[in-house]
Amino acid sequence: MAGRGGLLFPLAAIAIMALGWLALGLAVGNSYYQLMMTLVPIWAVLGLSWNLLSGYTGLVSFGHASFFGLGAYTVTILLVRLDLTPWFGIPLGMLVGVAAGLVIGYPTFRLRGHYFALAMLAYPLALLYVFEWLGYQEVPLPMKREAPAWYMQFNDYHVYMALAVGLLVVALLISLAVERSRFGRSLLAIKQNEPAAEAAGIDTLKWKMRAITLSGAVAAAAGGLYAVVLLVVTPDSVFGVLTSAQALVVTLFGGTGTLWGPVIGAVILIPLSETLQAELGDVIPGIQGVVYGLAIILVILLAPEGIYWRVRDWLHLARGTPGAAFRSRAPAAPALVPVPAERQTSGQVLLEVRGLSKSFGGLRALDGIAFQVEEGAILGIIGPNGAGKTTLFNLLNGFLKPNGGDVVFAGQTLVGLKPNRICRLGVGRTFQVVRAFQRMSVLENVVVGAYVRAAAEDEAFEIAREAVARVGLSPRLEALAGALSNKELRLMELARALAGRPRLLLMDEPLAGLAAAEVEEMLAAVRALPSSGTTVVIIEHTMRAMMRLAERFVVLNHGRVIAVGRPSEVTADAGVVEAYLGSKWTALHARG
């Protein structure tokens, strides 16, 4: 998918596809098949537009007919009312698409998952009824006999086909540019895990807004051309549920998150349904829908992620290259990270937490938390389950807003800032559960974290390569994330956080699920961080590992700090022992 590999192959493939389609079109004389060959690229463009938003970000839109319909009606109404040619009408329709993207996106992006999908469903349907009410039930485009070409009207169907293919090429190039850039990788990061992307410094709202406006423009262009080709527009045909469904079906069928998916889907499904309709529609009305429906069911059962990915995985298996389904590679060479000598903290306070409190409803999750972290230190936060450790991290990096208290980082308060701003200021974070982009390489995964510090693409890759080297994962630079071991995933996540060059790194249970030998490697990597300018705050359950890592502990229990100090002091504290290990252990220990 988002490989940085040469552009030559995809560009050549796009050119061959376009020329091949046109050559095939020239060979076809039947006007019905010519119409079909014009509609396939148009639906593919709508699919690509859907893919730009939903395929890359994972936010499923049931409402792409909004943009398609607005494009179609803009072109039609401008032509009918103002006698304006579609040559201008289509670009103006795209502007309307952009505006609709802004108006729809801004409020709707506050929703997630199913809520987003269903809210999107409502827009085109509301528009459908509004346009019916406005009296645009069925608007024919007037024939312009005096200057047909000026009004985009042609006797020869091949011209329409060429226009449709041209639009498809433009849409493919846009998709390719998005896929191969910071834009596409940021969207993929959002798809994988929106909070993690935000924590890695990606301004998720900004990128989602860009995606929906671009997607709206492309869909509106498809709608505008659709109106020109069919010469009549009805609210049902452009705003209807089936139009939104078409966008989604061709893409999901062909493969989401890749520019080829919508094309494959449209090339297979549109001719299938149109031919069935033409051949059998009169004899058995509805047979088209039944066969179409069954074909969709069958493909989803056989290739749930779409045809493109299934074929790709097969090819990788056949060739023996590491595809997503191929996971049996030799383990990586052990990390070669030098273990630093005794650490020196600068004595300067980097992070100060003052009286931080957070309640959920009536539950007081954190109450008056206060501690300091000196630059160059490794601070361990320990405490039993439910003590509020992860909640504390969520407050520090901006996922949650505190009810009271302050967080001061390098002289600046962090309270009220969005996570991506906090990341930009130099606070990185890793998560308890690693989420990786399975089909992207280690390097591509890490580069997402580097965008905070890099203006140019090359620079970002350079920083990412450095970060991968720092955690000792260089031998696996090009391996796909889906083929990594648990330890390698953890190291990759660490590299992703380091790529943002944080002054402070919050690590949430980086040792979870690692075997004893792997723990050593991870410890070595973490221990090396302060010497290269990264202060660490770490949550960990494994007491023994923590004793060897952190020079200071903050102990939480029931949302309060019950002890602060050096590991030896803290573990000797009776209150801590009881909270952490239970009163039984204390009693046993006292007797023994």
């Binding site: 994972g58 499923v60 409020p107 709707t108 506050r110 929703l111 997630r112 998952g113 199913h114 809520y115 999908a117 269903l118 809210a119 469903l121 409502a122 827009y123 349907l125 509301a126 009824y129 509004v130 019916e132 009410w133 929106e194 909070p195 549920v241 469904a245 989604l248 079906v249 999901l252 069928f253 989401t256 058995i284 009305p285 509805g286 047979i287 088209q288 829908g289 039944v290 179409y292 429906g293 069954l294 074909a295 969709i296 069911i297 989803i300 059962l301 749930p304 992620e305 399975q438």
Partner: protein, 315 residues
């Protein structure tokens, strides 16, 4: 004059709203337990309508009950019939892209579920077109032609007319929704379903067969919605593509009610019925449905947890 129109619209909204409420309860159960967006729900509703029509009018199996009661009994019988249909559909198709078979996969099978149920919807509605034809039909009860006349106290010349069929349908809807509510909240089966919904992984560890729970929830949800469809059929004409109109109303109702709550789904459906009917007082009829979507969007944007729900979507 306005008072009459208002009261009639209010009554129509309440009665229709109860049937919408029942549909939403069916969908809400499926969504609440499985977190699957099922596009075919509207087509189960349509099948419920045709089931009622065939049992009552075409085959005349219930003729002995008389023309007034037979359609209602037929509608209720659509429940068990479509329960079996939903149960089998889940077992054969839906289970492959949902529940434990996709736990931990990239998007938990969400896109696969979407497109699969879209395929099922297409196959069902067009299959229905082949089998039943496109002419609108109805399994009308004779009660649909009768109305109670309720005089207005302050004005002896004015009266509000209330269709008897819609009152019976409304009462049946409330009874069935209440029964389902008790089943979910009081019975052992209900406890199993709620456990499977709340935390599938933990439910598995507690020895609950989560896939079976999903199957049952899917069957019950399908059956309940089919009954609501049958009830609509007792006084309203329909055709094979009718599901599309209703699936949108159902989703709007379920989301407004706060996904996953039976009671909330019912209130959500009721709200939609009221909005739809009352909006005719101030808006042109064509904008009736636009009003629904406007209210739906407002609710979703202001209170994503729904009007009556508390839990927000898990991130």
């Amino acid at each position: 004059m306005f008072a009459e129109t208002f009261l009639e619209a209010l009554a129509a909204g309440l009665f229709l709203g109860c049937i919408y409420g029942l549909m939403c309860v069916g969908l809400g159960l499926i969504f609440g337990v499985m977190r699957v967006i099922n596009f075919a729900q509207g087509d189960f509703l349509m099948l419920g309508m045709y089931f009622t029509l065939y049992v009552v009018s075409v085959w005349g199996l219930l003729a002995f009950l008389g023309p007034a009661a037979a359609p209602f009994v037929g509608a209720v019988l659509a429940g068990p019939a479509l329960f079996v249909g939903g149960y089998l559909l889940h077992r054969l198709l839906i289970a492959r892209v949902s529940g434990t078979s996709v736990t931990g996969s990239e998007d938990e099978g969400r896109s696969a579920q979407l497109i699969l149920t879209l395929g099922v919807a297409l196959a069902l509605e067009n299959g229905a077109l082949i089998l039943f034809g496109s002419t609108p039909q109805s399994a009308r009860t004779t009660l649909a032609l009768r109305a109670w006349e309720i005089p207005l106290l302050y004005d002896p010349t004015a009266a509000v007319f209330i269709n008897k069929a819609s009152v019976v349908a409304c009462v049946l809807s409330i009874v069935i929704a209440a029964a389902l509510y008790l089943l979910i909240n009081r019975s052992r089966l209900g406890k199993t379903l709620r456990a499977a919904a709340d935390n599938p992984t933990a439910a598995i560890y507690m020895g609950i067969d989560v896939d079976r729970a999903h199957r049952i929830a899917f069957g019950i949800g399908t059956g309940v919605t089919a009954v609501a469809g049958g009830l609509v059929a007792t006084y309203h004409p329909f055709q094979p593509y009718v599901g599309l109109d209703y699936v949108i109303i159902m989703y709007a109702g379920v989301v407004m009610g706060g996904m996953g709550s039976i009671l909330g789904a019912f209130w959500g459906g009721l709200t939609i019925g009221l909005v739809q009917q009352l909006s005719t007082l101030v808006l042109p009829t064509q904008l009736q449905n636009a009003a629904i979507f406007a209210v739906f969007l407002l609710v979703v944007l202001m209170r994503p947890q729904g009007l009556f729900g508390r839990a927000a979507e898990r991130i």
